[in-house]
Symmetry: C2
Subunit: 136 residues, 2 copies
DNA sequence: TACATTATTGTACTTAGTACAAATTATAAT
DNA sequence: ATTATAATTTGTACTAAGTACAATAATGTA
């Protein structure tokens, strides 16, 4: 636990992000809670530990982490922005019954599109919707 | 033009959607303006013709059209929901410089994911981000 | 045409996210 | 360690997307 915290400090330092307790806590939360949480979930849970926490700080911190490439944004539903500590290429499946978001492996390099020959592609996203096994 | 309008009437009737001038106009707009417009763009443009148009009506109409499968929702950026009259399988590329959204062909059936064997998949989405040729 | 049903409109409301200035905390220099 | 400087956090006010709802208008049917 103490060890993890030191690892996260390293992670931020390597990206030239100044250390703060709030930033470490948000990063720790995303490392432990792998459900692609929303800002509100992060805020509500962390507020139990940090009673003075402001939601603006959560927004600010996430923006910083995303810009540094430590966290990615998941946009599946327009009304709920979610955050993912796993920045490696992978797809997302959202169950329309329970709302849970599952990760799946997909080879983004195999998604070669001839229509986009002269386009500079920076980011590839794949997401599916349907019903998960538990809800079926 | 008159012919097109009759076609759209047919399209709605086939889906058991009651006819109204507003619904026809929204459908006509999406048929003609293929830029994946937002609610606000649709509303602002149609208001020039229909001065009494309410934004609520645009929201209601789009919900009806999406439920009927005549229109699909495009969620790339969390703050801008866009609408597409082309409901066939295809991918979207958003230029991060000019904001334009391009269509591209992609074979969704080739996206077979072994991690999702027991999942019921209803909807597959692929979108890329980057810079378009005009902006490069 | 008359009636019943459905759609439109306008307003009020909710919620996600942003702007900004004051207060606090972290970093660097002495 | 103390101080000065810079960066971050916090709280409030604000914006904008979207929804709820009741009154009004339009549409479909007998
Ligand atoms: Mn993920
Ligand atoms: Mn399209
Ligand atoms: Zn489920
Ligand atoms: Zn462009």
């Amino acid at each position: 636990m103490q060890l993890l915290f030191e690892d996260l400090k390293e992670k931020l330092k390597k990206k030239n992000i100044n250390l703060s307790y709030q930033r470490l806590k948000v990063l720790e939360y995303l490392t432990q809670v792998r459900t692609h949480p929303t800002v509100d979930q992060i805020f509500t849970d962390l507020q139990k530990d940090i009673s003075t926490l402001s939601k603006t700080t959560v927004y600010n911190t996430l923006r910083v982490l995303v810009q540094a490439g430590l966290v990615r944004v998941i946009t599946i539903e327009d009304n709920e922005t979610r955050y993912d500590i796993d920045v490696r290429d992978h797809g997302h499946f959202k169950c329309e019954s329970c709302g849970k978001i599952y990760d799946f492996n997909i080879d983004m390099n195999s998604l070669i599109v001839k229509d986009l020959n002269n386009f500079k592609i920076d980011d590839k996203n794949v997401y599916f919707k349907g019903i998960c096994p538990q809800c079926l």
